[in-house]
Structure formats: structure tokens, C-alpha cells
């Protein structure tokens, strides 16, 4: 019994849990399409990494490794920053396309890209531009 307890020390248990969370997040990232869910999946993967790191820090005797903990702290702040930016991008994308998923398939090569140096402000050109490609591709056919 004590052998089992020894084996299941936090220094081993938590890294294992972290690895499972990492794999789980990866699975979700592949499977789900909604961008918010994908961002959640990435966050869960990140938590998995932090759990491995803190689990490693807690291995062995003595106090936990402060460097590992500091790295985790840094990692969490980086993760929240990236998440915030990603969410802002999702909102922007939804505003432009009405969707919060990236449509699968190859990118539309003929979609016009316009040139910011010609625009006074983004807002004025987005709507017509979004309509244009379908009209043109119809022509070609």
C-alpha cells in the first residue's frame, strides 16, 4: 500500500495529469470549430503545461523550485494576454463575416485584399469588398 502511495506522489501524479490535459486540449483544438472553443482548448493545453511544470517543481524532497513557479506565473500572464488578443480578433472577425469560425478549405485566392494606405478608415470599405468576390466568381463561370 505504501508503495502505491509512494508511486502516486504529487511529483508524478500532477505531471501525468498535466500531460492528459495537454492531450485533451489538443483533441479539442482539432475537433472543435468555434473559435472561442478553440481558444479554450489552447488555454487548457496551457494549463496542462503549467501543471507539468509545477508538478516537476514539487518533485523530490525539500521546498518546491521557485524558478519553476516564477516561470508558471509568467506563463499564466502570457496566456491571458494572448487570450485577450485572440478574443478581440474573434469579435472583429465576427463583425466582418458574421461568423466566429474559420471556414475550412483552401483560402479564396481571388478575394481582393485592399491596401490600407489607400483608406482613410477601415470601416468604409469593408462592406462592398465582402460582396465583391462572389459577384466576380459568378462572372467567370
Amino acid at each position: 500500500m505504501s508503495g502505491l502511495v509512494e508511486t502516486l506522489a504529487p511529483g508524478l501524479l500532477y505531471p501525468t495529469g498535466g500531460a492528459i490535459l495537454f492531450a485533451l486540449g489538443l483533441y479539442g483544438l482539432i475537433r472543435r470549430h468555434h473559435l472561442v472553443l478553440r481558444i479554450l482548448a489552447l488555454n487548457i493545453m496551457g494549463s496542462g503545461v503549467f501543471m507539468v511544470l509545477l508538478g516537476i517543481a514539487a518533485r523530490g524532497e525539500g521546498p518546491p523550485d521557485p524558478v519553476a513557479q516564477a516561470l508558471t506565473l509568467t506563463g499564466i500572464v502570457v496566456a491571458v494576454s494572448a487570450t485577450a488578443f485572440a478574443l478581440a480578433l474573434v469579435v472583429r472577425l465576427a463583425r466582418l463575416t458574421g461568423n466566429a469560425i474559420i471556414l475550412p478549405g483552401p483560402p479564396d485566392d481571388d478575394a481582393p485584399v485592399d491596401d490600407i494606405s489607400r483608406l482613410e478608415h477601415h470601416a468604409h470599405t469593408e462592406a462592398p469588398e465582402h460582396i465583391e468576390p462572389t459577384a466576380r466568381s459568378g462572372e467567370r463561370r
Partner: protein
């Protein structure tokens, strides 16, 4: 090492994995976000168990709190956009009505198609099992704890994590502040901010609570910041707490946000990195190495940087919650 703790660990991990699974499997996004916040709180518990109270504090405040708020406000924004209720933005394109369930995709994600299940599952299983095998092979390395311990007296602070963050690996921490700022610059570059899609709460309860909560949060934040030099706490946790207070404030009066003056706002956002960098460059010029402190000045400088960083982080987090750049920033 007793059995009870092992059972606790197993239960906690099972809970974490279960919640994460439910979160990623849910078709309702709101539900997924709530589960994710739960996941964050459980994680904080796990960090406590791993003797990492600093991280637990940060996880609760940042991982669960701020991230949760960001996710919820995003869902609300998406709902508003897709429902097409907002007409004050000329660039809103109505969803393609012929698209596959376009209107629903805002807050719902249909269950994934079965044909990707097997390859995805196989891939994830292979990665996971390889990781687990690798981790089980690793020795109980002592890590850097002894090295840090040996240099604590030269660090200027008493708390090892703060010593690592603000002295031994100050460069990382500087860049971490920079990333928070860069994320905001990125969000701002996407366009001006719109109104927070919050419905004014009826009744006196919210304003009353806020009147009580915000001062408490400020006091807590300042305490956490000060405590950081000798016990768990520090600039990031404090910044997150203050930021949370700011978010509450923003939420409580969504329509009556005074536009902040552009220059002052920019200065406030850049104060953390600015001061950090200034101190670092001084260290370089004075011969203590880039981001080094002059002997004897380490404690006051660290505290000064932490104060500025707390302020900047709090401001940045609130700004990230608002997302777009304020009008004042575009004035000539």
C-alpha cells in the same frame, strides 16, 4: 504521504480532467465558458496542493477571474453582433442567411463531425501517452531551488519567487509586461472600442455592492503588492485584483465611461515597462549589467517597478476588457 492526500489528488485531477472534457465537448458556449471558469478555480486548488500559493492566487485572479470576464464579455459581444441588433457600426455585415446555421454559430457550436474523431483521438492519445512515458522516466532533479536559495541574500527581497521574477530573471518579467502591453496594442489596432454590451442592472444591489467591493479590492491589491516582497503575492496578482475592480466599475456604468485623455492613458499603460527599462538601462550604463540593480538599491527599485507594473497591468487588463481603443487615442 498519506492515503487521504493521494485520494484527494486523484479526485482533484479527475475533476479537472472531467470539467475540461465537458467544457470542450459542450455545444453551448456559455456553458463551456462557465465550465472553464470552474476549471480555473479547481486549478487554483491544485496549485495550492503543489505548494504554489503565488500561482494559486494568480490563477484565481487572472486565469479564472480576468479570463472568465473576457470570455463572458466576448460571448455577449458575439451574441449582439450575430443577432444583428447593433446598427451603430456601419461595418457590421449581416450574416449570410444561406450559411449553415450562421445565426446560431455565435453561441453554439454543433457537435463535431464524427469522421475527424478517430484521427484526432489517435493523435491526442499518442501525444499524451508519449508525454506521460517521458515524464515517468525523469529523475527527481532538484532544479534550481538550491541555487536560488544560495543567492537570496543578494536579491534585495525575501520572497524567492519575487527574487526570481524581478531580479534573477528580470528580463523574462520585463518581456512578460511587454506582452501584456503588446496584446493591448494589437487589440487597439483592430479598431475603436464599442460600448460594453452590458444591460444596466436594475435596482440598488449592484451599485451598492460595488461601492463596497471596489475599495476592498483596492486595499487587497495594495496589500498583495506589498506582501510580494516577502510572502506570496506581487505585482501580477495585485494588478489582476485591481484590474478586476476596474472591470466591475466599467460594467456597472457601461454607458457613462468618461473618455480617458489619450496621452495620460498611454503613459499609464507604459509606466511598467518604461520604468523597468529605465532602471535596466541605468544598470547597463552604471556597469551592473542590463537590468541589473546597483548594490543596495535593489529593494527600493524592485518596489518602485512593482508599483508601476501593478498600475500598468491593472490599466491594461481593463483596457483589454474594453477591447477597442478609446476615442481619445485618435485625437490629433
Amino acid at each position: 504521504m498519506n492515503l487521504l492526500l493521494v485520494v484527494f489528488d486523484l479526485a482533484l485531477l479527475a475533476g479537472l480532467i472531467g470539467v475540461a472534457w465537458r467544457c470542450l465537448a459542450s455545444t453551448d458556449l456559455f456553458r463551456a465558458v462557465v465550465l472553464f471558469i470552474t476549471f480555473g478555480l479547481l486549478l487554483a486548488l491544485a496549485w495550492v496542493r503543489l505548494e504554489a500559493p503565488d500561482i494559486a492566487l494568480a490563477e484565481a485572479a487572472i486565469g479564472a477571474g480576468i479570463t472568465g470576464a473576457l470570455l463572458l464579455v466576448t460571448l455577449e459581444r458575439l451574441r449582439v453582433i450575430i443577432a444583428g441588433r447593433r446598427s451603430d457600426r456601419p461595418d457590421t455585415v449581416p450574416p449570410d442567411p444561406s450559411g449553415p446555421g450562421a445565426a446560431l454559430q455565435a453561441l453554439h457550436d454543433p457537435p463535431p463531425e464524427p469522421r475527424t474523431r478517430l484521427p484526432a483521438l489517435t493523435f491526442a492519445l499518442v501525444v499524451g501517452s508519449l508525454l506521460v512515458t517521458t515524464l515517468w522516466h525523469q529523475p527527481d532533479a532538484a532544479g534550481l531551488e538550491p541555487v536560488v536559495d544560495a543567492h537570496m541574500d543578494a536579491s534585495g527581497v525575501d520572497h524567492p519567487i519575487t527574487a526570481v521574477l524581478l531580479n534573477f530573471r528580470a528580463y523574462d518579467t520585463f518581456l512578460e509586461l511587454a506582452i501584456v502591453l503588446v496584446a493591448l496594442l494589437g487589440a487597439w489596432s483592430l479598431g475603436r472600442h464599442d460600448r460594453i454590451p452590458a444591460r444596466p442592472a436594475p435596482g440598488p444591489i449592484l451599485p451598492g455592492t460595488l461601492r463596497l467591493l471596489v475599495p476592498v479590492a483596492v486595499v487587497t491589491g495594495v496589500y498583495v503588492l506589498w506582501a510580494g516582497s516577502h510572502q506570496p503575492g506581487g505585482a501580477f496578482q495585485a494588478g489582476a485584483i485591481l484590474g478586476a475592480a476596474g472591470i466591475l466599475l466599467v460594467l456597472s456604468r457601461p454607458r457613462r465611461m468618461p473618455p480617458p485623455p489619450g496621452t495620460l492613458l498611454r503613459l499609464g499603460l507604459g509606466a511598467g515597462v518604461g520604468l523597468f527599462l529605465a532602471s535596466g538601462v541605468y544598470g547597463l550604463l552604471a556597469g551592473h549589467g542590463f537590468l541589473g540593480y546597483p548594490p543596495g538599491w535593489d529593494y527600493p527599485l524592485i518596489i518602485l517597478i512593482e508599483v508601476a507594473a501593478t498600475l500598468s497591468i491593472a490599466l491594461t487588463l481593463v483596457a483589454l476588457f474594453i477591447a477597442g481603443r478609446p476615442e481619445g487615442d485618435d485625437r490629433p
